[in-house]
């Protein structure tokens, strides 16, 4: 039997295509209600998916990833992703919840306890996707530091590359602090010893004493170690510097290969960096990202994408490959890319709920038929679902 694959869905607004909100089944007026997100995540859970990710940013969406726009014909506005995940958690049971957190402007102390709490309210299904901020607009919302302005044309210049390296180093520090804080309570720190009147054994609470160029954090966390010990850390990566963040700091990387050969090359690069980081023995998942436009009839999918592009006024392009076709064809592609070394996939539905329903109602049964996907949730935590052990506490002495 082949290795089963892991499957995630990335939720964002009405779907990833800019015209998604205008589809007949779209619910654009509900985007800011809890019910909208509960329905989508429950559907993903019906498909037994490993996890959903929730996109987020500290600024309005923009068609241009580098600068804000003033468009009025696109979905604009968002809710905080960690809270959306928390709102959904008590109403789901098996699916992992992985909100996006911007690391550049936030406090690792706050996010560490927020993610630990997400792990408590979901009883062990929390993760996070860390994201650096390079948009000048976001810097201006906080007014604490200067953004170095750059865009696609200057991206490869040495000056910009140095800035990018710094941002990702800060992200690595941020993850380090968050992880230390999760470990700052040993699992058995709470003792409730009536004889001595002690609620905790303070030998099992630890200062994390992190000092770095961007922040210093003393600890311990105010929140006890969460059910998974360490909720899973993920990152989206398109180049060597972010691949290195995945290799050094993450449990799961999302990557954007063009084809199977590209997938093999990216996986190879990450495995090499993982070795350099001294993590060769650890499981680090690498999931391929794909935007999916799915219909039972491949021609219908292609026609739908053309129609969406017409409505949007331009041809849709993405950092990830855009797959158009049937769920059966997608299953073929996933098999081929799995053979290239990817351990799973994160599918970005072009429209919601249509392409999500195609994933849960068509792709998943097809993968199950091929013996490539679970037929029920067996794990009780997201780590278990991903085959990751519950990590030992770095501070525990026994």
């Amino acid at each position: 039997m082949p290795e089963p694959l892991h499957l995630a869905v990335a939720l964002d607004g009405a779907g990833w295509h800019p015209a998604a909100w205008r589809e007949p089944d779209a619910r654009p007026a509900d985007l800011f209600t809890a019910g909208y997100w509960v329905d989508l995540v429950r559907e993903a859970e019906r498909g037994l998916l490993d996890l959903v990710t929730l996109e987020d940013a500290l600024s309005l969406q923009s068609d241009d990833p580098w600068t804000p726009d003033e468009r009025t014909d696109r979905v604009r506005g968002r809710l905080d992703a960690v809270q959306v995940a928390a709102r959904v958690a008590p109403l789901t049971r098996g699916i992992g919840l992985v909100p996006t957190a911007v690391v550049t402007h936030t406090e690792p102390f706050h996010l560490s306890k927020a993610l630990a709490t997400l792990d408590y309210v979901s009883t062990g299904r929390a993760g996070v996707r860390v994201k650096v901020s390079s948009s000048a607009a976001e810097y201006a919302h906080f007014g604490r530091r200067e953004a170095v302005a750059f865009d696609r044309s200057s991206y490869d210049s040495p000056e910009v590359q140095r800035v990018v390296r710094e941002l990702f180093d800060e992200a690595a520090d941020w993850v380090e602090v968050v992880r230390r804080l999760w470990d700052s309570w040993e699992d058995d720190a709470e003792i409730r010893d009536v004889a001595t009147g002690r609620f905790v054994d303070r030998e099992k609470l630890h200062y994390v004493d992190f000092t770095g160029p961007h922040f210093s954090v003393r600890g311990p966390s105010i929140t006890p170690r969460p059910p998974q010990g360490q909720p899973i850390v993920t990152a989206l990566a398109h180049a060597t510097v972010p691949y290195d963040l995945v290799a050094r700091s993450a449990d799961l990387g999302f990557v954007t290969p063009r084809d199977a050969a590209d997938a093999a090359a990216i996986v190879g690069e990450i495995r090499g960096l993982q070795q350099q980081a001294g993590r060769a023995e650890e499981t680090v998942h690498v999931f391929g990202d794909l935007v999916v436009v799915l219909d039972d009839d491949p021609a219908a999918a292609a026609a739908r994408l053309r129609r969406l592009d017409d409505v949007a006024g331009s041809e849709y392009s993405s950092d990830a490959r855009v797959f158009t076709g049937s769920a059966v064809q997608l299953a073929d592609l996933l098999e081929e890319w799995t053979a290239a070394g990817l351990t799973g996939f994160r599918l970005r539905p072009a429209t919601l709920p249509h392409d999500l329903l195609q994933v849960t109602g068509r792709l998943v049964p097809e993968l199950q038929r091929r013996g490539l996907f679970r037929t029920e949730y067996e794990a009780t935590t997201l780590r278990e679902q991903l085959g990751l052990p519950r990590p030992a506490n770095r501070y525990a002495t026994v």
Partner: protein, 458 residues
């Protein structure tokens, strides 16, 4: 003769805190961190038609003599995350979170509260607190950067800035018309620019106007500056509560400050914290209350309490023996860190002398003395007595209601909801059904008209 109409009482449930009010040693005491405990308390409060659930916050574990304080409950969840999750298991209950204005940024906090208000369909509230100490600052990017006398300056402008962000969407911008392709009516929705001594920010806020327009605002802080801040900008004030007379004086003081901000008395609710012990009879309740006090004040807790006032090590003393003959060390508190109680006694030597004479006169040990001088339960009695007391305090303007702090997690509120709430309902002073859906509705605060600025003073 026309009678003054009876005031409706407001009630809230405070999740038991990380101090010695909370009794963790009782066999009935459950988890302070598992979500099921939060669900139980919140659903009990909603069963009792309470106005809201309340969560305090402290951003650094408390220390005693340079080590983590281990005698009280330690550990709590993240405020926004647990409240968002509670929104999933409750329907009407308000959700009040304590969030500090020193160790946060307005854009993030405004975004979080707008999100919580959306996800709860209009039930979010923000208790603005101002802890500023460098001790807590060691957990944050900018450290302890604020001088004590700047805390309300920053709090005021922080709150004002967050309100500006919330008001940057009028409420009618989202059209989402599939036919015409217009999602936003206004290309500038969310635009803001704010510049002052504390914040220099501009751009576009990314969360559309939330159901209440902005969270209901609570203020907790007793100083003159704190009261003024509440009068200018809060919808409710969270306070301590001593005697009826002290409550009335506080009530008159803060309500009296409203006029100069163009506000009416009913626009600022006074909601003190209150603890309670119920019994079948008043006598039984009194006996039970004493037992609870002894659970709250163990020998070790009593000694440490004394060390906070004495500001020195007293570990050589026996908690069941007489008070120390040495005097307190005057100066900066060095024994206790991150504990509100450390600053409670302004004249430690005077306090020590007072306590020594009290202990001598009544023949009290250290532990008995601490039980005697630290706050006993606010309400002790049968359900009938407690209902009558609460009603009297509210009708005589000592408060507009109470934020109840049970001493047992998570079931401590159950007897109050089962026994006292029905009596208050019989008296016609507490709702038997929620009439509105938002927290503003429950508190009797007029809705903020959409498109209007969202500051407290209108």
């Amino acid at each position: 003769m026309t009678e003054k109409p009876r005031k409706q009482i407001h009630l809230a449930a405070h999740f038991p805190g990380v101090n010695n009010t909370t009794v963790w040693s009782d066999p009935a005491a459950g988890s302070h961190i598992e979500f099921s405990s939060f669900v139980h308390l919140a659903q009990t409060a909603e069963r009792g038609k309470f106005d809201f659930f309340f969560l305090a916050e402290g951003l650094r574990l408390r220390e005693h003599k340079g080590r983590i304080h281990d005698l009280d409950v330690v550990g709590r969840p993240d405020t926004f995350t647990v409240l968002a999750a509670l929104a999933a298991v409750t329907d009407r209950l308000g959700l009040t979170g304590t969030i500090n204005s020193t160790f946060n940024e307005p854009y993030d906090v405004a975004r979080q509260f707008a999100t919580l208000d959306h996800l709860s369909a209009g039930r979010a509230a923000w208790n603005v607190v101002t802890s500023w100490d460098a001790f807590t600052g060691e957990n944050f990017r900018r450290g302890g950067f604020l001088a004590q006398d700047q805390r309300y300056d920053r709090a005021r402008t922080f709150l004002a800035t967050a309100q500006e962000l919330a008001a940057s969407w009028r409420g009618d911008e989202i059209v989402a018309d599939k036919e015409s392709g217009v999602f936003l009516r206004d290309a500038a929705a969310g635009r803001f620019a704010h510049s002052d001594a504390h914040f220099d920010i501009s751009g576009r806020f990314d969360v559309p106007r939330s159901p209440q327009g902005r969270p209901v605002v609570f203020q907790a802080g007793d100083s003159d500056e704190g009261r003024e801040f509440a009068a200018s900008a809060a919808d409710a004030i969270f306070t301590g509560h001593g005697t009826k007379e002290a409550g009335q004086a506080f009530y008159a003081d803060v309500k009296g400050r409203l006029a100069k901000y163009g506000r009416r008395p009913e626009e600022l609710l006074v909601l003190p914290a209150a603890t309670f012990v119920l019994g079948d009879t008043d006598a039984e309740a009194a006996e039970l209350a004493h037992t609870v006090r002894l659970q709250q004040v163990s020998g070790a807790t009593a000694l440490q309490w004394l060390e906070q006032v004495w500001n020195r090590d007293l570990s050589a003393y026996d908690p069941d023996g007489p008070l120390p003959d040495v005097d307190p060390v005057v100066g900066e508190p060095s024994v206790a860190k991150g504990r509100a109680s450390a600053r409670m006694y302004k004249d430690p030597v005077g306090t020590a002398n007072e306590w020594r004479s009290l202990a001598e006169a009544k023949k009290l040990s250290i532990r008995e003395l601490v039980v005697e001088v630290t706050s006993r339960q606010t309400f002790v009695g049968s359900a009938a007595t407690v209902a009558a007391t609460i009603d009297d305090l509210v009708q005589s303007d000592a408060s507009d209601g109470f934020i109840l702090v049970p001493h047992i997690t998570p079931t401590g509120l159950d007897p109050f909801v089962d026994q006292v709430v029905p009596l208050l309902q019989e008296r016609g002073v507490f709702r038997t059904e929620y009439e509105g859906t938002t927290l503003r509705d429950h508190l009797g605060l007029a809705p903020l008209p959409s498109g209007a600025p969202v500051g407290a003073a209108r």
